[in-house]
């Protein structure tokens, strides 16, 4: 059995032995993307399990072990971990937890310490906690984000964004119900197979796969009817994770809407732009310059991948391609400063502008109750977005353990009533 090893600050490390013996639990956020990430990590030799447990038990665990005023996502994710660990399904001496950490000035970068506190409170100090991040917080000998993993993950994001985008545009109109979803599942499996054999990551494979994906989705028989177009923006977890937003996407689908959920790609580019922007705004020494150059290099690499998506969409005008980062960047100019980096930062405002511009002017802005960056870039910018695009019809929705679905849905329905009226007028 793997020995428990600690770093000099007393943090329990995830060791190389643990890599062999331990199962790593990861909370599910974006179903398509995360299933691809799961495959990537499995292929790299990790035993991975995506947690999809949800419901009141999870919330209760969260409330019990996390400061009740902490962000709702922290409460949910930690609740999810504890609910799983308390279920008896896992051998507590052979289980590790993994969570992403962004490391900005938003309190969300504190999730890992909050998780550690909760685990301590629950008497499960023996469970190693792995921070998955790209900024070098907390290293572990048994888990390294090497280039191979990063490349596969990035490919996963490209595919994930594309598949999600196509599925959102196909499913509401498909003639045979379930066809779009089946195609989605088929591709997740297909891509994971490719990854397992070292394929699907280089630009050539990427382009080929994207073309095939486009072709497949374009072949799904659909019947275009007029539906309300609704975009979703918000704090990243509440925006994406269905159990955090009370199944917002399903609800909107039931209300006969077509949903546009901007993907992960721009968020990654947004993060990569952080250091170069800081250097530009505030200056810095040689170390900052080097870090900035590395970021810029990665930025260009990821931008190229993003452009591959745009190209793949070009022959298919019936599909609306995901908006490229450079365009969102441009839209924000004069609305909010590029220095607004914490949380989703100016990107959230940019996504509202981008959606409004591309015909999804009806927008749900989802945020955890009391989310600090959202006071600024979400609720704080709605007025300005409307100035830019008077058609914008935005409803901010707060999520927390006590907010009821009835109340949230009622507000969304009001937004939809106005949306329908606008639709009928035009």
């Amino acid at each position: 059995m793997a020995e428990l090893v600690y770093d000099k600050n007393g943090r329990l490390l995830f060791t190389k032995e643990m890599k062999k013996e331990y199962t790593i639990l990861i909370p599910m956020m974006l179903p398509v993307h995360f299933k691809l990430f799961e495959g990537v990590l499995r292929n790299a030799g990790y035993k991975i399990e995506l947690l999809t447990n949800s419901g009141q038990a999870v919330v209760q665990e969260g409330l019990k072990y996390v400061h009740n005023d902490a962000c709702y996502p922290a409460l949910l994710v930690i609740g999810q971990f504890l609910d799983a660990l308390h279920s008896g399904k896992y051998d507590l001496d052979h289980t590790a937890l993994m969570m992403t950490q962004t490391g900005g000035g938003c309190r969300a970068s504190n999730y890992i310490p909050l998780l550690r506190k909760a685990m301590h409170k629950a008497g499960m100090d023996q469970i190693p906690i792995i921070s998955m991040n790209l900024v070098g917080l907390e290293s572990n000998p048994g888990f390294k984000m090497n280039l191979g993993i990063i490349r596969r993950m990035m490919a996963g994001v490209v595919y994930g964004d594309t598949l999600m985008c196509l599925n959102n545009q196909t499913k509401p109109y498909e003639i045979k119900r379930g066809e779009s979803t089946a195609l989605l599942d088929h591709w997740i499996q297909n891509l994971n197979n490719q990854f397992a054999h070292g394929h699907g990551m280089n630009m050539g494979d990427l382009k080929k796969n994207l073309q095939q994906i486009m072709q497949d989705f374009a072949a799904v028989p659909i019947k275009k009817v007029s539906k309300v177009h609704v975009g979703i923006v918000g704090e990243i977890f509440v925006k994406y994770a269905a159990f955090a937003n009370n199944n917002l996407e399903d609800f909107l689908a039931e209300q006969d809407c077509e949903v546009n959920l901007p993907g992960l790609m721009n968020f990654i580019l947004f993060m990569l732009e952080h250091r170069p922007d800081d250097l530009k705004l505030y200056g810095g020494g040689p170390a900052a310059s080097i870090a900035s150059s590395v970021s810029k290099f990665l930025f260009r690499y990821v931008s190229k991948m993003q452009h591959a998506i745009t190209e793949a969409f070009q022959p298919y005008p019936q599909f609306l391609a995901p908006t490229e980062f450079s365009h969102v960047h441009e839209l924000v100019n004069g609305v909010i400063g590029y220095g607004a980096k914490m949380g989703e930062g100016w990107l959230l405002t940019g996504e509202m502008l981008e959606l409004a511009e591309s015909g999804f002017e009806n927008i749900v802005c989802a945020q955890p109750f009391g989310c600090l960056p959202n006071h600024i870039v979400g609720k704080g910018m709605i007025r300005k977005v409307k100035q830019v695009n008077p058609k914008a019809n935005i409803v901010p929705i707060d999520y927390d353990p006590s907010a009821t679905k009835v109340n949230q849905e009622n507000r969304i329905k009001l937004m939809l009533a106005v949306a329908r009226e606008n639709m009928n007028q035009s």
Binding site: N68, R107, Y338, M342, L372, I376, M381, T404
Partner: protein, 969 residues
């Protein structure tokens, strides 16, 4: 015929239109949450008496109608939208609609870009809120409306949340404020809340229409809106029925009413709601439970026959007043437990008179009082002792369980609990900001559902499927209950569910335990709410421990006070100073309200005049009482810092003109920097004045997010003040990073401090065409700052700057900042020395720089000095320690100071830390836990005070007094 049904949160409204769109039937009634029954009843009536076999089109609307219409496939129209349809037909000239309902508040802007605003997860400022307030004042809604006409003064009351409002109103009641003033103040609060919360910067003007129950029935409320909007709105005919009318107008689908009725009644029986296991398996289990608890009895004696020393204890609580007469043998000779009906003084007078009548020879040896109304009662009747509630309850609990290690008292709207360590009170939990774990919530609910609280609570004991309502704010729970009822929960299930919620809130929201063992194993529970067997049962189940509930659970405060007076007077000669029978007979109580005006806090004072005595309530410091103005800067660093900041005066006749700096958020620390920087560049630097309530209100309508912290909200007002002064150039930079003090892994500002200028720029139309400089600025790299700043300056000003002058100004600015920090550190050391010489306790009032603002800290620093301690701030002692390894991500400059300060305090025997936390501060969810754990690791007591627009200083006082009492032990 077209039928419109508006199923709201508390009422159900219907309208039937004939083919000429004329109203042939309308109805309005409360549904007491019996939604399906009422709907069935109403539709049956309409079918039989109005429609009479003709074709009918039906549409449903309203928040509670949504689910039902979905399931029964009946046409639905969202209620705000329905209102709009109706207004479009009936009052096409309308510009803006304000509609208040049971639990919702809405503003519809119809002209100039249609927009709808409705309240989100907060029920503040709605009909339910007004109901709650009427209950609190113990008057009917009609009375409240009538009283409001003859008001003289408007008090500031937070109506964002009923919970907060209660804690504003209760002290006012206790201080003897007039009900007419309170009624008008409540209406004004609702108007302000609606306008601020919903208009969010959009001006309400033109033809305004008032709709919905509260605005239809309450003239005073309409008047309050008129006043707040500086206009006269109209309340049209059928103002109650606009939603129903809108629904009727949009009815197009033919509905077979018989089928609809069948579906609706089926719907009522589906019963899908989250439930938990019953409180008791069966009657036997309940009987055993009752039997066990009945054994815990306080000894009783007989007042008539008892001879010997007699002690009096009074507990003047927030909603009730309790008194205990105690013999020297520890037996209770007599007691009362009454609602204080807003004024406890006459109740105690009557009680004393009654006691004297029974025993004309009665002489009290000593008397003590505790609770909210402590000072009032003590002064009114000249009692010997006033003690803080925690001490009273601890004293009482020890009589029942000498080794008690945890006491929890849940009263009407306050909850106190504390741990006991080494015989001293440690770790007090009070609910300053939240009454969700308290009993008045149960009571209000019982009343809404048409029950007396006692009967309502009993209903839950044998509920088969108690509703799982979770824990969290009770104001939010209304809609959860609504949903459960919609899903078929019975009143029994709801009663049990609410009891569970009260306990869960108390445990997980206020105390925040993760396991029972945290609280100790020897628990005494008390307070009126625990008289409720359901609550007690849930508590034991949740804690998995048998607890002691004394049979005088509701009287424990008074009992403790009586015991205290007995112990305290043991070695004293003579009798109690309590007023005599003849004085009682001639007793008079007069109340005057005035504003102090001796300092910026401008406390609203209530002067109670008794024969030969007067008592001033509502004051933070002793100045209005003693009329002396002590030199508070000698012992209070908050006062000193504020004075120091105010000394940065504008340098007149700047060659580059005036530049304004709003005194908000980080400016409370960076003013020396920016003031010097711009003065050196030749600007006349004008700062906005100190915050006050008026300044807040003036900027309120431009706040886009109503849940952001109060210090941030105030910045809108500061911008307004600068603009009013004719300042066209305002400097307020965005700053992701703060100065790096090398005490943390990074040196961020919190997102709100960092980017709030963006919010001001985007939401204050007043800033349009002004030079509002809110660029992203970093002062954390001094070498780079001048270059970067030069670019920004040259972008905003026509007359160019050169690098040299900016460098010189920057150098001076860093120097000024340094000097300022050194100066306050030096002053801090002096205060520490002085306190040590005078053997005073030193309180580190830890927060953020902007907690200096008297409107933010509500004069808590003064309250502390009035209790005899010195006050310093976290920044000056943080510098005395090195960077600390902590268990959280330590990357914010201000927050790192808290951790360092806590570490330092832990090494000083005469220092204690009190942390100020602004409501809504997300980062403090992280810091408070960490600071607490640092202090507790070293055996120190952690005290936290949550502050907001309104702060209940009574609760703050309890905390501080308990802290001092614990330190004494």
């Amino acid at each position: 015929m077209k039928i419109g049904l508006d199923v709201g949160s508390t009422t159900i409204k219907s309208v039937v239109l004939d083919d000429n769109q004329k109203i042939v039937f309308k109805s309005y009634e409360r549904h007491y949450s019996q939604i399906t029954e009422k709907m069935t009843e109403l539709l049956t009536k309409i079918r039989d008496e109005v429609i009479g076999g003709k074709d009918a089109q039906l549409t449903i609307s309203g928040s509670a109608g949504m689910g039902i219409s979905d399931t029964c496939s009946l046409p639905f129209v969202q209620e705000v939208y329905a209102t709009r349809i109706a207004t479009g037909r009936l009052l096409p000239q309308t510009d803006c609609i304000i509609e208040l309902g049971g639990e919702d508040a809405k503003i519809l802007f119809l002209t100039g870009g249609m927009e709808v605003r409705m309240n989100g997860s907060c029920a503040g400022g709605t009909g339910a809120f007004i109901d709650q307030m009427a209950t609190l004042l113990d008057i009917s809604l009609d009375e409240m409306d009538r009283l409001s006409e003859s008001y003289e003064k408007i008090y500031t009351i937070a109506s964002r949340c009923g919970v907060f409002a209660k804690s504003d109103i209760q002290p006012l009641l206790n201080q003897g404020a007039r009900k007419s003033d309170l009624a008008a103040s409540i209406f004004a609060a609702v108007a302000n809340q609606t306008i601020a919360g919903l208009a969010q910067g959009r001006p309400i003007a033109g033809n305004i229409v008032y709709l919905g129950g509260p605005l239809t029935f309450l003239k005073g409320l309409r008047r309050a809106f008129d006043t707040a909007l500086k206009t006269t709105g109209t309340c049209p005919e059928n103002s109650l029925y606009f939603v129903a009318l809108g629904a009727a107008y949009s009815s197009e689908i033919q509905i077979d009413l018989d089928t609809a009725l069948k579906n609706i009644s089926k719907y009522g029986k589906t019963g899908h709601f989250r439930s938990i296991e019953p409180l008791f398996k069966d009657k036997e289990e309940y009987a055993a439970f009752v039997e066990r608890h009945s054994q815990c009895k306080a000894p009783r004696g007989d007042l008539k026959t008892y001879r010997g020393p007699v002690y009096l204890g009074i507990d003047s609580g927030s909603t009730t007043i309790k008194a205990v007469v105690l013999g020297s043998d520890g037996k209770i000779l007599d007691s009362i437990y009454k609602s204080n009906a807003g004024n406890p003084v006459p109740i105690i007078r009557d009680y004393l008179l009654q006691l004297y009548q029974e025993r004309p020879d009665l002489v009290f040896t000593a008397a003590a009082v505790t609770g909210y109304g402590e000072e009032l009662i003590k002064n009114a009747f000249n009692l010997d002792y006033g003690i803080v509630e925690t001490i009273a309850h601890f004293t009482a609990a020890k009589r029942f369980m000498p080794n008690v290690d945890f006491v929890i008292d849940i009263g009407g709207q306050d909850m106190k609990c504390f741990k006991i360590r080494n015989g001293a009170i440690d770790n007090i939990f009070l609910n300053e900001a939240c009454s969700s774990g308290c009993g008045s919530f149960l009571q209000t609910f019982a009343n809404t559902l048409g029950y007396q609280i006692e009967d309502f609570a009993k209903l839950g004991l044998f509920a088969k499927h108690p509703v799982d309502l979770g824990s969290r704010c009770t104001v939010f729970m209304n809609s959860q209950v609504k949903q459960a009822q919609k899903d078929g929960a019975t009143v029994e299930d709801i009663s049990a569910g609410l009891s569970v919620s009260v306990v869960k809130n108390a445990l997980y929201k206020v105390i925040r335990v993760s396991s029972a063992a945290d609280l100790g194993r020897h628990i005494v529970v008390q307070g009126g709410t625990f008289l409720n067997d359901a609550v007690l049962r849930v508590f034991e189940k949740e804690m998995n421990v048998h607890v002691i509930r004394p049979d005088i659970s509701g009287l424990m405060g008074a009992y403790g006070a009586a015991v205290y007076s007995m112990q305290k007077s043991m070695h004293r000669e003579g009798n109690s100073s309590i007023i005599s029978l003849s004085e009682l007979e001639n007793f008079k109580h007069e109340v005057k309200v005035t504003n102090c005006g001796l300092c910026n806090n401008n406390c609203r004072l209530t002067i109670n005049i008794f024969p030969g005595r007067r008592f001033i309530g509502g004051n933070r410091c002793e100045r209005p009482v003693t009329k002396r103005s002590g030199k508070d800067t000698d012992i209070d660093l908050y006062a000193y810092k504020l004075q120091k900041l105010q000394s940065y005066m504008p340098v007149p006749a700047g060659k580059r003109g005036k530049i304004g700096i709003p005194m908000c958020l980080n400016m409370y620390e960076l003013l020396p920097f920016w003031h010097t920087f711009f003065s050196m560049l030749g600007f006349e630097v004008i700062t906005s004045p100190l915050s006050n309530r008026k300044l807040y209100i003036d900027g309120q309508s431009t706040i886009p997010s109503d849940t952001v912290c109060y210090p941030a909200k105030l910045s809108h007002g500061h911008i307004m003040r600068l603009l009013e002064e004719g300042i066209d150039t305002i400097f307020y930079p965005c700053m992701s990073y703060n100065i790096d003090e090398r005490r943390s892994d990074n040196h961020y500002n919190c997102p709100v401090v960092a980017y709030y200028p963006e919010v001001l720029a985007a939401n204050m139309p007043q800033l349009q065409n002004k030079n509002f400089i809110h660029d992203y600025v970093g002062i954390h790299i001094p070498k780079e700052f001048p270059k970067k700043m030069l670019k920004i300056l040259n972008h905003h000003f026509k007359e160019p700057f050169d690098l040299k002058e900016v460098k010189i100004a920057a150098h001076a600015a860093y120097q000024a900042y340094d000097d300022y920090m050194k100066d306050i550190r030096k002053k801090g050391s002096e205060i520490i020395d002085k306190a040590r010489m005078e053997h005073k306790q030193i309180i580190v009032l830890a927060g953020r720089p902007y907690h200096l603002d008297p409107e933010v800290n509500h004069g808590i620093n003064k309250l502390i000095t009035s209790l005899g301690a010195a006050v310093i701030s976290e920044d000056i002692i943080a510098a005395r320690t090195k960077k600390q390894p902590v268990d959280v991500l330590n990357q914010w400059t201000y927050h790192a100071r808290l951790y360092s300060a806590a570490e330092y305090v832990a090494t000083q025997t005469d220092m204690n830390l009190v942390q100020l936390v602004s409501f809504g501060c997300g980062l403090d969810a992280v810091t408070t836990d960490e600071v607490r754990s640092i202090l507790e690791k070293h055996g120190k007591i952690y005290t936290q005070i949550k502050i907001d627009e309104i702060t209940n200083l009574g609760a703050v006082k309890i905390r501080l007094r308990s802290l001092f009492a614990a330190l004494e032990q």
